[in-house]
């Protein structure tokens, strides 16, 4: 049960942290259409968070709700990928990150549709429709900006170079992943690497971007062992209402 809970937290926290980061663009995106697109993407991700963390809370059986898990845990209890918690920086990095994540989510959620756990199947099937749509947009935007002006190309290359050392964490199998694979709830994340790499290579090529050669990978986010300094700052904003007014409802 502990492993299933951890597994569900990872899915939910990925969606929550990326959803929150994406929502930071609300009202300040470079164009109205992009503002609307980013906030709608954030909304999908927060919806997926409710499904994953809702199930995590049930599995834990400690009387906590999805809201409790989102708003009343501290940074070291979060299980999201480090890549998703680093600051947005600029529109280019935001979309590059979305693309690197979407390119993983689509094969990952596709595989989870065959999970031995029926609830996981249901959440994955629902989320996959949204992830597929997100991937269409993020891949298209990465190509448009990479193969755009000299300035937009340089920014996208800088975004890719910055995010690349964080991407390897997507595929770092651990004890929880092996426990999930043993009971056929989820495949090993490392198995997603060929599909992800193929999609990333194709898109980078079309976007006139050069994939970094180093395979150094930061880790510690999905295990909770070592988050970046940025997560605490993000949570301070995201959780301020429940921290200041515990139990507040509307």
């Amino acid at each position: 049960m502990q492993h299933l809970f951890e597994f569900l937290l990872r899915q939910g926290d990925n969606a929550l942290v990326l959803g929150h980061r994406t929502s930071e663009w609300c009202g300040i995106a470079p164009a109205l259409e992009e503002d609307i697109a980013l906030t709608n993407t954030a909304l999908d991700l927060i919806g997926q968070t409710q499904l994953w963390l809702g199930y995590a809370a049930e599995v834990e059986g400690a009387g906590r709700s999805a809201n409790d898990l989102a708003y009343l845990r501290d940074a070291y209890d979060f299980r999201n990928l480090l890549m998703l918690e680093v600051p947005n920086e600029d529109f280019g990095r935001t979309l590059m990150r979305q693309f690197l994540f979407d390119a993983f989510q689509v094969p990952w959620l596709t595989a989870l549709q065959n999970s031995a756990d029926q609830r996981v199947v249901e959440i994955a099937t629902k989320s996959l429709k949204e992830a597929t749509y997100h991937l269409d947009r993020s891949a298209e935007t990465v190509v448009a900006l990479g193969d755009g002006t000299a300035d937009s190309n340089a920014r996208m290359q800088a975004a890719l170079d910055y995010l690349w050392p964080y991407a390897g964490e997507l595929f770092a199998d651990d004890e929880t992943d092996r426990a999930m694979a043993d009971v056929s709830i989820a495949p090993l994340p490392s198995g997603m690497r060929p599909a992800w790499a193929a999609a990333v290579e194709d898109t980078a090529k079309a976007a006139c971007l050069k994939l970094p050669e180093s395979d150094f990978a930061h880790s510690g986010g999905r295990t909770g062992a070592r988050h970046t300094e940025h997560l605490g700052h993000m949570l301070a904003v995201m959780q301020v209402l429940q921290r200041s007014y515990p139990g507040a409802v509307w």
């Binding site: 259409e33 997926q48 629902k126 749509y133």
Partner: protein, 155 residues
């Protein structure tokens, strides 16, 4: 006073009158959000499904169902939300599709884009953005009459 007997067909008819809170020209039945109605004596169970997992209209839809059925004398209502099978635009009724178009929202097409401008019927249309005013819509523009319009995403 005669004891009222509620039938499932009746409940479906009542729900046909509950508009979608964000696109009020179509009902939640036409949208495919209502997945089931079960009546056992006085107890009515209505099963609904979200269009998108983060659809903010779900809470309003639940409240509107409660209100509409309470008006008809339903006091014992059980509302259940389920996500499987996942909602698809295939569940939009033909009536719903026609009403969307009449309202200025191009109905979903499996080809992935609107068949024509809902205002002037021109098929010269272009995408502005993959997302629109709600999670279920995208923004397109007509190259003939130059008007922007919403397109109901096909999923």
């Amino acid at each position: 006073m005669a004891v009222m007997t509620i039938t499932e067909a009746q409940v479906w008819t009542w729900l046909e009158d509950v508009p979608d809170p964000e696109i009020p020209v179509i009902s939640i039945v036409d949208l495919g959000v209502v997945r089931g109605v079960d009546v056992a004596g006085d107890q009515v169970k209505v099963t609904i499904t979200p269009t998108y997992s983060g659809c903010p209209a779900m809470a309003i839809i639940a409240m509107d169902i409660e209100t509409a059925l309470a008006k008809q004398g339903v006091t014992d209502l059980q509302l259940e939300t389920k996500i499987a099978p996942a909602w698809t635009t295939d569940w939009l009724s033909d009536k719903g599709r026609a009403r969307l178009e009449g309202y200025g929202i191009a109905p979903p097409q499996t080809a992935g884009g609107p068949a024509r401008c809902p205002r002037c019927q021109s098929d010269a249309v272009e995408k502005i953005s993959q997302f629109g005013s709600t999670p279920c819509k995208a923004q397109w523009r007509c190259q003939s009459c130059l008007e922007p319009f919403d397109y109901f995403k096909c999923i």
